[in-house]
Symmetry: D2
Amino acid sequence: MPIRKPVLDPPFNIVRASHVVFDVRDLGASRAFYVDCLGYLVTAESKDALYLRAVEERNHHSIVLRRASAPQVEALGFKVASEDDLDRAAAWFKRKGLPVSFPEVPHQGRTLRTRDPLGMPLDFYARMDQAESMLRKYATHVGARIQRIDHLNCFTPDVQASYDFYCDLGFRLTEYTETDDPDPKLWAVWMHRKGNVHDLAFTNGAGPRLHHIGVWTASALDILHICDVMASSGFLANMERGPGRHGISNAFFLYTRDPDGHRVELFTSDYLTVDPDHEPLRWSLRDPQRQTLWGHPAPKSWFEEGSPFIDTPVRAPVLEAQPIVAR
Amino acid sequence: MPIRKPVLDPPFNIVRASHVVFDVRDLGASRAFYVDCLGYLVTAESKDALYLRAVEERNHHSIVLRRASAPQVEALGFKVASEDDLDRAAAWFKRKGLPVSFPEVPHQGRTLRTRDPLGMPLDFYARMDQAESMLRKYATHVGARIQRIDHLNCFTPDVQASYDFYCDLGFRLTEYTETDDPDPKLWAVWMHRKGNVHDLAFTNGAGPRLHHIGVWTASALDILHICDVMASSGFLANMERGPGRHGISNAFFLYTRDPDGHRVELFTSDYLTVDPDHEPLRWSLRDPQRQTLWGHPAPKSWFEEGSPFIDTPVRAPVLEAQPIVAR
Amino acid sequence: MPIRKPVLDPPFNIVRASHVVFDVRDLGASRAFYVDCLGYLVTAESKDALYLRAVEERNHHSIVLRRASAPQVEALGFKVASEDDLDRAAAWFKRKGLPVSFPEVPHQGRTLRTRDPLGMPLDFYARMDQAESMLRKYATHVGARIQRIDHLNCFTPDVQASYDFYCDLGFRLTEYTETDDPDPKLWAVWMHRKGNVHDLAFTNGAGPRLHHIGVWTASALDILHICDVMASSGFLANMERGPGRHGISNAFFLYTRDPDGHRVELFTSDYLTVDPDHEPLRWSLRDPQRQTLWGHPAPKSWFEEGSPFIDTPVRAPVLEAQPIVAR
Amino acid sequence: MPIRKPVLDPPFNIVRASHVVFDVRDLGASRAFYVDCLGYLVTAESKDALYLRAVEERNHHSIVLRRASAPQVEALGFKVASEDDLDRAAAWFKRKGLPVSFPEVPHQGRTLRTRDPLGMPLDFYARMDQAESMLRKYATHVGARIQRIDHLNCFTPDVQASYDFYCDLGFRLTEYTETDDPDPKLWAVWMHRKGNVHDLAFTNGAGPRLHHIGVWTASALDILHICDVMASSGFLANMERGPGRHGISNAFFLYTRDPDGHRVELFTSDYLTVDPDHEPLRWSLRDPQRQTLWGHPAPKSWFEEGSPFIDTPVRAPVLEAQPIVAR
């Protein structure tokens, strides 16, 4: 039985998944995708970086794009509740023998940079510059009218190891996929801190790599509209999968790829999970509706491609099991 | 019994309500309202006029704004099926002793300018310059994403007279309001040529005056969004009534006023009426759900204000009956 | 150049596509699909037949299901403007050497039964029993909240021949697909009488067979909801294609198959086409966005399967050209 | 300055607003409203009580209706994180000199019954019977397709006192209204535990009384649909205010009254507030868009009427300030 009870008193208090730092090759091309097409707001911009936020976000950035020679993910950002939590986190990671540093990070307060045991680069911070929420300036809501960042979804070579690590940090399981063996193996997990289906998810695969960031829209019609916009304004090739409905998390989704191949899921309509006795939902790896309620197959790229993390070797997964592709 | 059978072989073939020509005092202010806020597309622009169309329209214009010293309506425009229909129309209006001329009208073919017996200025034409439909260029759909012009709604001092005149021209009744007298009087009529609830409607009141033009959106959510935009970008005072649902025509609506007070109804979701045996729907003047299914009162301005027609005296209505304001 | 000018004075006045008569093997199974799942209203029911209408329809039926030993289509129904039109139609079909009879048809007035030159069975009538419109009885709107029937879409072995025949009857072309030869061939046509994209469409293929009936919903969200309902209540296998957006007609669509394989397209958001000078939109057979704006491939069944017409041999198509399947 | 820093280490851990217990005079009438019209699911039913939940809720009930001779509120229910929290809560309330008991409550684990200093009856519990989530059984989503309970909104005679009490319990302020005095007074507060705008809100007025419970829908279109349903199936008089948009909380709302006058707000689209440094949003009491972004006046009943709490005297408010009613 690979599933454990939630840890309700974690060593430090992570509030939520907060942002991602993407290396991209051409900031102009990225701007066309994120700002002109999807409608992201620009909080700050230099010749080397672009800081983006969505319409309800007061945090200075939820996506940082940095000019680089090759696409990769520099960091997954998480907000902690206080500066004390940051110190507790640093001490904890040190005790685990994991790397700890406090680099200067623009627009953020003290930032703890570390890695999880599988190698994923993590940034923790308690304070970030605040920007004006544009939620009630509706004339600025364009493109997909994205509201906020929601989650980070990663390939891991060892789902059980990733699950155990983040479970210890207080991430609570909401849904999971396992094999149907007498001795079942975890194939994928969805875990949250903020009270909906997930802040962080892991799927069995060559990793660690980022599968996608998930961003929230207020209505499914916003997602249908951006499909029309993308398909008719030169971004058809950036539409990878969807729109559709996942069985898992109940999400209505569209998966897009940015000009560097980083994957951005636009989604809406999951559910509240704050109850400590919220029972995780189990899916069989062989249930096709897990992936796609309506029966649409996902493309091969969706199962295989992901963004590498900076200076992080990719390992083959410990499980060979493969999900049943719908139909 | 004031209702007649539809005239299925009218003297000439009117296709639909096509456009309106508004006199406005400040083209810049009008542009801010129609283009920047509502999202109308500009087909042509000069220092004296602005030609607008909505996203699915191939006709060069459905709203013409002309710079003038005072707000008024220069013409209500209707498309006829052919040049022959235009000649038949000219002959017919002449026989009725109504004024007939063929002024040069930019971007239109031959244009018959006339008036109905109550004085409303009418432009008929068969050909207009065609522009590219932007329906499939979704990135250009902004603001309320208005699709097309739908109808013209007027105050008339004599609903029966207006009804009779347009009935003769082949307009078919779909819904009507009458008094509950033993000898009922028509209080309002909705009449169509193109196959939905109306191209032209009349309500009892000081007139003739234009009450509003009605324009179509693809979704009620487009109307909710433009409410948010208007309320948060300086156009709150331009929101006159709604959003709400009419009993009549099943329309989900928002009534706006442009900077000169011309009224524009954004609406969606009426129904198909092409069947020649389509039975008109009767409403009692005393039924409050006629006006407003959900029970919201309309403001006084909505009942009383309208746009004057050029060189057209306004007469008091023949009926004194007043509708019951909801609640 | 296979495209002709519209015939504006046809030999008789067809108002619109009105209904279909499906033979089905199990009325209970059909009822579960159409009524319990999709939300159709039952106007009349016997042990041998089920008469269905959608929420805005006043006509007694738009779908007739008849108990039979094998699935097939008994008739495609069209409403004409008057009894005189019915007589003109009968005379016209006789002159063409096509079969003419006036069978008794329940709930309809005089009904002309005939066939087009390719063998498709056609029913014309001017009067049908009227039922109460349920449009304003919103509590009865369930399932997909289907509003009305919109169109009939058929495979034909000879698109040019079908186009020419219905063009003579006054059907006007709105969109078409042709080959890119120097001497282009018609591959598919969309034609209307009622003022939107189509009442009748033809695609090159083994035929004549019915490809699908198209029914209208008021919102794309109604279609997303019925996807969720079908996928979670035993109708997943009945979802054949979509939801998605056609380039052609701008339709947001879902194709379903009833328990006998008859195909029903739920769709919304096409556009107005009443202008006689409305220019048809040409698509190249090689343009993948024609079929599917967002790039989703259609399943093989969608290209190949259709409902046979009663006593109507199926012929191979004259063209061998095949559309490019997206991606 | 009446606003304090959030208390991040409260004496016990309240998870969220969980349910309400309404006394009603006629369970049949209540069932018609909540179940047949709004679409609530019935988890359990007896001749004296009805237990209701919404489609995503696994908790046995979020609304309990109890047969009684007069309408009132028996309890506001809150979930705490654990049985230990319940004991800590009991100890804490005792120390404050507030009443503490542990009555048997059907379908709940140990339940602490107490009152706040102003007299509001509170039930705390950690465990409730769990029912199957119907979230993915979409065919059961009818009426307004309500997803879950969201918040409880109360009149208090002393907003500052209520705010101070619940601030001590860890409720965090997200938005507030105050007077424009040099020495500003709190007029209304919105406070949360679960990470969106509120679990609990207070407005200055004769109290304590319940103003409304707020329940969440996935889409604004669900709210428009239930408006149509209510207005056309005998529930027009139960529609008290809206649909509309609040400036506060960004909610799209409809206020309904159940057959006993208990107020239920259907709403959607607020925002995430989990960040501990989330800055509360201040509104001036004189800002009309606070209440109603689109400028619609609220009816007098909305400002004045509320549900009394069991055995709880109502006191006049300490502030006499009145909000500006829009327009």
